[in-house]
């Protein structure tokens, strides 16, 4: 076909200096709304308490490697005072309150958090490195929704547990990860409080700040002192919480490795455990899938939050007949991802959460190359300082390769092919994990059949990473025990009599 040039010359604007060539000037979210104190203690019994051992650790901005502030390092004694405060609050006040009253506090917290959403979003991005676009449009709205959702359950628990009597456990110990710090705090606190428990929450050591700022929301809501306590620290602080005899219920979200330790540690005590652990989730693309939307789903599935997502779709399986085309489109789409300062509103991938995690991901990438897989990363420029990685994928990955078995928890996808639905199901289920999966096909019957046979807690069809507080979330096998969210999220927080 011949394309005709127009008779006249092109307009002077078309090639002149004023033509936009896809440049994005920096568009930074202001961080002036956030006041970070130089030093934080623990939040216990409604007040700020210095750590008994007097030790503090630093929390960094992973995008600049600058120290943001110092945070208390929780000792066994600190954990003890927090549990004691929670226990007292439970016995004296919280257990005597009606569900409607408890719900009222949760509603107030949700509203207060909404009002201060921008401030929390900026702090989440500063402390954790995730793009402001995500903390603003995902983390904060989701955290508020969770509080609202469980606020509504607080006075309706009799409908959740059928005709059976139930009661709160008392004190719940909650240990949360660094990938969605505030959202995970809301996931944990909301059902615990709705069910009538008091909590001691331990945020991750690299991202404690939004949980500490949340103490201001707790305070402003008028919640009785001791109902929510926040103790900061690393592994030993968490271990002290797990082993404390006053803690009847442990909820943990984090790595499978630590989850196993917690299971071991709590085995000798009278404790209930919910564990939301790692994943190596499969993303299956059939040849009759809506291709461009599937590419987008794969990109969102693995590169959302730099791949620091327990349910990240990290193992891609593409039907062999379209794999060349699909991977070409995928790589092209990856090239348009913008890696940069997390506070820039145009940033798609922010900083890797910590140096430790960066090293771990780099090690696994190196391992992938050594084991013979074909590596691709995008060509974008990375900031000079901070912990950053380019979005990457591996092709020709062996089923036994380390990168195909182990959770990378970073922006690295593995790509394999399959020939039949049967093979896709077999390969997708070939993992010790079972958190999530995605399936793409235009055929309804195929979607239902395949989804039914995938061993994963969540299966998304023709989409990925959709979350709703009404919907339970959790995994099979080494991805965890129990469910969070929805009606199911209430069960672990009450003892059925």
């Amino acid at each position: 076909m011949n394309r005709v040039e127009t008779g006249k010359s092109t307009s002077k604007g078309s090639e002149g200096p004023s033509v936009w060539k896809g440049e994005f000037a920096p568009s930074m979210e202001s961080s002036s709304t956030v006041k970070i104190r130089p030093r934080y203690g623990h939040y216990i019994a409604g007040g700020w308490v210095a750590p008994k051992a007097g030790r503090y650790f630093k929390t960094l901005n992973p995008a600049t490697e600058e120290v943001l502030c110092e945070v208390a390092e929780g000792s066994e004694a600190d954990v003890g005072s927090a549990v004691q405060a929670a226990d007292r609050a439970y016995k004296d006040v919280w257990s005597k309150m009606s569900g409607a009253e408890r719900g009222g506090y949760l509603f107030r917290m949700a509203r207060l958090l909404q009002e201060r959403a921008r401030e929390f979003a900026v702090l989440e991005t500063l402390d954790g490195g995730k793009p402001i676009k995500e903390s603003r449009d995902f983390d904060l709205p989701s955290a508020c929704n969770h509080l609202f959702y469980y606020a509504g359950w607080a006075d309706k628990l009799e409908y959740a547990f059928g005709k059976r009597e139930s009661r709160a456990w008392g004190v719940a110990g909650q240990i949360i990860p660094w990938n969605f710090p505030l959202l995970m705090a809301a996931w944990k606190i909301a059902p615990a409080l709705a069910c009538g428990n008091c909590v001691v929450l331990k945020p991750a050591e690299t991202t404690p700040l939004t949980a500490l700022l949340f103490a201001e929301i707790v305070e402003a809501s008028g919640l009785p002192p001791g109902v929510v306590n926040i103790v900061t620290g690393a592994g030993p602080t968490g271990a002290a919480l797990v082993r404390h005899p006053g803690v009847k219920k442990i909820a943990f979200t984090g790595s499978t490795e630590i989850g196993k330790l917690i299971a071991q540690n709590s085995a000798e005590f009278d404790k209930r455990l919910t564990l939301e652990l790692g994943g190596k989730s499969a993303h299956i693309i059939f040849e009759d899938a809506p291709i461009d939307q599937a590419v987008e789903g794969v990109v969102q599935g693995i590169f959302f939050n730099q791949g620091h997502v327990c349910c990240a779709g990290s193992r891609l399986f593409v039907e062999e007949s379209i794999s060349t085309l699909f991977v070409e489109k995928l790589k092209r789409r990856m090239e348009t991802l913008r890696v940069g300062p997390p506070l820039d509103k145009n940033t798609d991938l922010g900083a890797i959460n910590s140096k430790e995690q960066l090293t771990k991901i780099q090690g696994l990438i190196q391992r992938g190359k050594e084991e013979g897989a074909l590596y691709f990363e995008t060509s974008c420029k990375l900031p000079d300082r901070g912990y950053f990685l380019r979005p990457a994928l591996f092709e020709r990955v062996s089923p036994s390769a380390t990168i195909q078995r182990e959770e990378i928890f970073g922006p690295v996808l593995t790509v394999s092919t399959f020939r039949t639905p049967e093979e896709a199901i077999q390969k997708a289920n070939d993992t010790q994990y079972g958190l999530a999966a995605g399936v793409w096909s235009d055929k309804g019957a195929k979607l239902f059949e395949v989804s039914r046979r995938l061993k994963a807690g969540v299966v998304w069809a023709n989409t990925y990473n959709k979350f709703d507080p009404c919907s339970p979330f959790g995994g099979y096998f080494e991805s965890g025990w129990g469910r969070e969210g929805g009606l199911h999220g209430l069960y672990p927080y009450r003892e059925v009599l």
Binding site: G13, S14, F24, N462, T463
Partner: protein, 313 residues
């Protein structure tokens, strides 16, 4: 289902079924509204928008005088003193009018870079005979139109007679000769599903369209981000197969500079920087220009100007 088309060279070509997931398309389309253009980048983008604009008037009440005024604005969007203030605003890409007003526009735009586009093939309904449609095109071209914006026959398309749609576009393309660009309007607001939008896009490209265009502006909805995204993806798929670059024109519905920025970001991310040129991307709009000019003045001076300051036709 795939669609079989007998090409002009006799080959039977299949347009394969290409399912589109409308939820995914809407999400991806919405992501472009989150892009944030600031400072120098924004000013460049705003000026680029002017250079990509098909300034349009398509009313029964259009008169030669009305078209002359439009042409004046097309050549020089801002009064001289303001133009100097903002470092120059380019003329628009084209003026788009009904065929009867082509001679007026041609006369008034002679010696300028601004193209004259004529809507055609019994715009906007396309409900006349094939012969009349061709006559419509031939006349507009002979009167000096350098761009023809034809409408496809939805009458044929919606009853599944894709061959007729294809044949008509081929003949119109022939009638355009070497002097005129062909933009094919799909009237996506009447096609019902995004699967159909993709199919119509492929059909138009296969038949020789230089540009594919969303809408006449006479049907609601006109251009939307999701529909444009699907059309851009069809353009990309064609480029991937053939190496040939087809142009895109969203029309009817883009009213603010803010919306237009989302379109530009989408073109850039889906097709690449090569498409950021008036030869491959246009905005069809009657109301967009004033908002873009106000935003340009805002970027340079820091304050919003009333439209009265730079005039409107």
């Amino acid at each position: 289902m795939g669609v079989k088309i007998r090409l002009t060279n006799g080959v039977l070509e299949t347009i394969p079924h290409h399912p589109i997931d409308s939820v995914g398309v809407s999400e991806r389309a919405a992501s472009f509204t989150k892009r944030s253009l600031k400072k120098g980048s924004k000013l460049e983008a705003l000026k680029t928008m002017v250079a990509m604009m098909d300034l349009t008037t398509l009313e029964g009440a259009d008169t030669p005088e009305r078209v002359r005024q439009l042409c004046g604005r097309a050549r020089q969007p801002l009064p001289a003193h303001l133009d100097e203030l903002v470092g120059g605003v380019p003329p628009v890409a084209a003026v788009c009018v009904y065929p009867a007003l082509v001679p007026v526009a041609v006369e008034f735009l002679a010696e300028t870079s601004v193209q004259v586009a004529s809507v055609s093939t019994a715009f906007p309904s396309s409900q006349v005979s094939g012969e009349l449609k061709l006559l419509d095109v031939q006349q507009a071209v002979s009167w000096g139109a350098t761009e023809i914006d034809m409408v496809i026959s939805r009458n044929a398309f919606l009853r599944g007679d894709y061959q007729t749609v294809y044949d008509e576009i081929v003949k119109v393309k022939e009638a355009c000769g070497t002097g005129a660009h062909l933009k094919v309007i799909l009237e996506t607001g009447e096609l019902g599903t995004l699967d159909q939008v993709y199919r119509a896009s492929k059909l138009a490209i296969l038949a020789g369209a230089d540009f594919i265009k969303t809408s006449t502006g006479k049907v609601q909805p006109g251009a939307t981000l999701p529909v444009t995204l699907v059309m851009l993806q069809s353009i990309f798929d064609h480029f991937q197969q053939s190496g040939q670059r087809i142009g895109m024109k969203p029309a009817g519905g883009v009213r603010t500079a803010k919306e237009a920025i989302a379109y530009l970001c989408m073109v850039y991310e889906v097709l690449g920087v090569e498409w950021l040129t008036p030869t491959l991307f246009r905005f069809g709009a009657s109301r967009l220009l004033n908002d873009v000019l106000r935003q340009i003045l805002r970027q340079v001076t820091g304050s919003y100007y009333n439209e009265e300051v730079f005039g409107s036709e």
